[in-house]
């Protein structure tokens, strides 16, 4: 009897342990490309078009207009999912960007927190203006506004040293800045990171109001990098107490219009007296209240209107319950993927339709083609594949038009000011694929030995195709395989749980995969172009799945086999665009590079420019979408009293 019980204990524990081991393989890779947004849910309606004017995508205000006050309650599905414990330096979750950038962490320059291109444009926040850039494009100088303060318990003026300190934190290895690579362009940052210098030589604070950044190379999108929450001011007297990644998240001192509830109770007299702030329990809830030290005069209603008195974020493990509560007006909003039946209800019921918000997600979904692997080492095959692909069929698997626009090139249109909105190098009727054109293209390929437009070389048979073992990819597979077959390519499909780690391992030499999608970090196309920068190619954890620009030397290092010679590189183009300051010229440069990639490199078959959907409750009187973070524009929402 006793042995039997002992056995039972072991079995129970083993069950858990095996569960741990078996289920654990997925997330490491999964998180990497997906951190900034959730996958759009499947829907059935045209996405709202994003336009120049910020007001157009906002909800119609109620007759009396949105009123101040009230509580905005948001349920989060299953978990907050923070990647760095909500410490801005390591936090890489789009939803966290939304809260921090909108409510808690002001930055030198920031966003309007609104939908569309207007939401992707930079405006001054803590700084008086967009800064002064030296003629050589290497020095950026900013002046802080008067009257900007840290919230309780510090309640003191924010100085340029507090901004500079944020960069010291980014450069502190133990704090694990998740996007620290954006700041290595600052002079002296690398030395500081390596511990070779006590200060970052490129950051100077001549007085309490002025801060200047000196870069080692012209970097046109540097202002975007300054608008990331990690670059927001941090008070050394509190943040300096924490030397481990993510620990500061529960003590975050606000510089924005709201703060953790209970911040005023924090005893910041020394590091030893600090206790986690009551308003943030990473397990269950986060509660924000107004920051008494925030002065609206230092801000603009364009960026923040701050209607509500209080935000309540709670974790809820039951998605059905979340949307029931929204419908019943018990909560206002959710960070959750809407179940298909909910989307259907909100698209079909006219009374509910206004509560469904569809916005551009600034995220492209694509099939990646490996430039080193036959038959995709032949550009004609890649072009033919683009021509033949039934993109409409793929979108149907995603739930139809509400899922997003058909993508015809790499960078989402909203990030290119719609300059490529009408660009489609591989057009077809109804996006269903142009078989005739594809066959014409295939005839040019060495793999079509009899030049009949159908690939007949053995390289086209049983081509390994790695995809995720989930419902969506299962639905995507029939149109994918059927399209390839029309030009004679048969796929050997491998559905795995956790496809990312497989395709991120260069030595596996995966010819093609239907798994990837990519979202922006900020609204500059450079955040997409890292995917084609050969200098970022890694043996594992590689995101340049197509191996664009791979040289034979690199190939040996990262263990890539196949055709490794003569692979086109766009490194020089990327560098050329990168030096151009933010503005139309820069956008045009990226647009041209996008075209070049689509026509001369053809690393992808892009198929979906995904939307972000959101459902709000009847109590919400004003709602907006924050284009930067891809989530709720908390600083603009209002509720009925």
């Amino acid at each position: 009897m006793r042995h039997w019980r002992a056995l039972a204990i072991v079995v129970v524990a083993l069950g858990l342990a095996v569960g741990a081991a078996a289920c654990g393989g997925d997330d490491g890779g999964e998180a990497t490309p997906d951190t900034t947004a959730t996958e759009p849910a499947t829907t059935g309606e045209e996405p709202a078009t994003t336009e120049e004017e910020p007001a157009t995508t906002e909800e119609e205000p109620s007759p009396e207009g949105p009123q101040a006050g009230g509580t905005y309650r948001v349920d989060w599905e299953e978990t907050f999912g923070f990647t760095g414990g909500f410490d801005p330096v390591g936090e890489y979750l789009g939803e966290a960007f939304g809260i921090q950038s909108g409510l808690l962490v002001r930055t030198l320059i920031g966003y309007r927190h609104t939908a569309g291109s207007a939401g992707n444009e930079l405006i001054p926040d803590l700084a008086t203006d967009l800064g002064t850039i030296s003629d050589d494009g290497l020095t950026y100088t900013y002046t802080l506004k008067d009257g900007i303060k840290f919230g309780p318990p510090l309640s003191r003026e924010i100085t340029s040293q507090d901004v500079a300190y944020a960069f010291e934190r980014i450069g502190t290895e133990s704090l694990v800045a998740q996007y620290g690579f954006y700041y290595t362009v600052i002079e002296g940052m690398s030395e500081f990171m390596a511990g070779e210098a006590d200060t970052i030589s490129g950051i100077t604070t001549p007085d309490d109001k002025t801060i200047a950044f000196k870069l080692t190379a012209p970097t046109g999108d540097f202002p975007f990098r300054l608008a990331m929450p990690a670059a927001g001011p941090a008070p050394r007297e509190v943040a300096g107490c924490f030397t481990e990644a993510g620990a500061y998240g529960r003590y975050l001192i606000s510089s924005g219009p709201y703060m953790f509830e209970g911040s005023d109770a924090l005893d910041a007299s020394s590091c030893d007296t600090l206790e986690p702030i009551a308003g943030f329990d990473p397990n269950t809830s986060m509660t924000l209240v107004r920051n008494p030290d925030y002065d609206p005069a230092t801000d603009t209603p364009e960026a923040r209107e701050n209607f509500v008195d209080r935000f309540e974020f709670k974790i809820n493990s039951n998605p059905d319950d979340i949307f029931n509560k929204i419908k019943a007006g018990e909560i206002e909003d959710a960070v959750a993927s809407e179940p298909p039946k909910v989307i259907r209800e909100y698209t079909e019921n006219e009374e509910l339709t206004p509560l469904l918000h569809i916005n551009a997600g600034d995220r492209t979904w694509y099939i990646t083609l490996n430039l080193t692997q036959p038959p995709f080492d032949d550009i004609h095959v890649r072009k033919a594949a683009n021509l033949v692909m039934d993109k409409e069929g793929l979108r149907r698997a995603w739930g139809g038009p509400t899922a997003g626009e058909i993508a015809t090139h790499i960078i989402p249109d909203a990030m290119l000011n719609e300059t490529l909105a009408d660009y489609d190098p591989y057009p077809s009727e109804g996006y269903a694929g142009d078989v005739a054109a594809a066959m014409e293209e295939m005839k040019l390929s060495k793999y079509d030995t009899d030049k009949d437009g159908i690939c007949d070389a053995p390289e086209c048979k049983d081509v390994l195709y790695v995809t995720e073992a989930d419902r969506l990819r299962q639905d995507m597979q029939p149109p994918t395989s059927a399209s390839f077959e029309k030009i004679g390519i048969t796929l050997k499909v491998r559905s795995v749980e956790g496809a990312y780690p497989v395709i991120q391992d260069v030595s596996k030499n995966v010819p093609a995969s239907g798994r990837p999608g990519w979202g922006k970090d900020y609204a500059d196309a450079s955040t997409f172009m890292v995917l084609f920068d050969s200098r970022s190619t890694l043996p594992t954890g590689n995101i340049n799945y197509s191996l664009v620009g791979l040289t034979p030397e690199q190939a040996a290092k990262v263990k890539a086999s196949g055709t490794v010679e003569g692979i086109p590189s766009v490194d020089a183009d990327i560098d050329a665009c990168n030096v151009i300051p933010v503005g139309d010229e820069r956008v045009q440069c990226w647009a041209d590079l996008d075209k070049k990639l689509m026509e001369e490199v053809v690393p992808w078959i892009p198929y979906l420019d995904a939307t972000a959907t959101q459902i709000t409750g009847p109590t919400v009187t004003k709602w907006d979408f924050d284009q930067f973070s891809g989530t709720i524009a908390y600083a603009h929402v209002a509720v009925a009293q």
């Binding site: 019980r5 923070f82 493990s317």
Partner: protein, 327 residues
């Protein structure tokens, strides 16, 4: 008895050691992703990755980590005793998270246990005493329903019918929706929030217990000592409740101990549907996020619960059945 308990406690420790070691070994020996990657960001430099591994203690071989885990567990770490480290996911001390979640799961498990024990045993007794009648058939029909109805579906139906946010008839909506309110915050809210989860979770078990009680009682009532009790001229009530029930409850005690112990590891589905945020939901999330310290913590708690409940079962068993005691 004391020596026996000490012996058992030593055994508990041995089992805990084995179970945690196996958990560690499986976590490291089976090919999984690197938990550090998630924390290190989109395209981490090798240095950053190394730093995260160092902070997480993942830079050492698994047996060294295991040793570290053991010494922290026994002597405590900077977050207190027992030292369970911090969660790779939320970055807060596992001990704190455990203390936050354990009362939720315990409230759920023990409340449900009271409901199913009362319900199941009552139905089982009535059913056994009225064997073959309509009442018996109705009760066994209920039992079949309880066993076969998926908890997930039952939970959603209960919410639909009784929760304020439910879609069912309004006059039935007299219970609050999902979520958990700590007892210390409001005992009445704690109670009303837990009624539905208790009942839904209990239905499944009640059905098992009803069938088991009925079967055991029917068997016991055929025993010679029951005939003796009747021959003594005892009232039927006394015969059933004192003589019949006591003997038929002993196997139920064993089952009950095991069920409670396993529930302490988390009633995942019930916790999820009713958004209780207890240990079960945590365990699932931790396994998916490769949150080793959290996984190990739940394993320790579960194994401990199983061991302790076994001990309790043995003690209760000995109390119920003197034959065990004197062996």
């Amino acid at each position: 008895m004391a020596a026996y308990i000490v012996r058992r406690l030593v055994w508990v420790i041995v089992v805990l050691l084995a179970v945690t070691m196996i958990t560690f070994a499986i976590f490291y020996l089976l090919p999984t992703g690197d938990p550090a990657v998630r924390f290190a960001g989109k395209s981490p430099t090798p240095q950053v990755l190394e730093e995260v591994r160092r902070q997480f203690g993942l830079d050492k071989p698994w047996y060294a980590q295991y040793w570290h885990f053991l010494s922290d567990l026994t002597t405590g770490d900077k977050y207190g005793w027992p030292g369970l480290g911090f969660s790779f996911d939320t970055r807060i001390p596992v001990r704190e998270e455990l203390l936050e979640r354990a009362p939720r799961t315990l409230s759920l498990a023990f409340g449900a246990a009271i409901v199913w024990l009362t319900l199941g045993v009552t139905i089982g007794i009535v059913s056994a005493l009225r064997r073959g009648t309509l009442l018996d058939r109705a009760a066994m029909g209920f039992a079949l329903f309880g066993v076969s109805a998926p908890v997930f579906w039952l939970g959603l139906m209960a919410l639909w019918l009784f929760a304020e946010t439910g879609g069912g008839p309004d006059w039935l909506h007299f219970l609050p929706g999902t979520g958990y309110v700590p007892f210390s915050e409001s005992p009445s809210e704690w109670f009303t929030h837990l009624i539905m989860p208790w009942v839904v979770l209990a239905l499944l078990y009640a059905a098992f217990y009803a069938r088991m009680t009925r079967g055991n009682l029917l068997e016991t009532m055929g025993e010679d000592y029951i005939r003796t009790a009747r021959a003594k001229g005892l009232t039927e009530r006394r015969v059933v409740f004192k003589h019949g029930l006591r003997a038929s409850l002993t196997p139920i005690v064993t089952m009950f101990g095991m069920d409670i112990a396993l529930l302490v590891g988390g009633a995942v589905i019930t916790e999820t549907v009713f958004n209780i945020q207890g240990l079960g939901a945590w365990a699932v999330r931790a396994t998916f996020n490769q949150d080793l310290p959290a996984v190990v913590a739940v394993v320790v708690v579960s194994a401990f619960a199983v061991a302790i409940m076994n001990l309790l079962v043995d003690i209760v068993y000995a109390w119920l059945d003197p034959r065990v005691r004197y062996q």
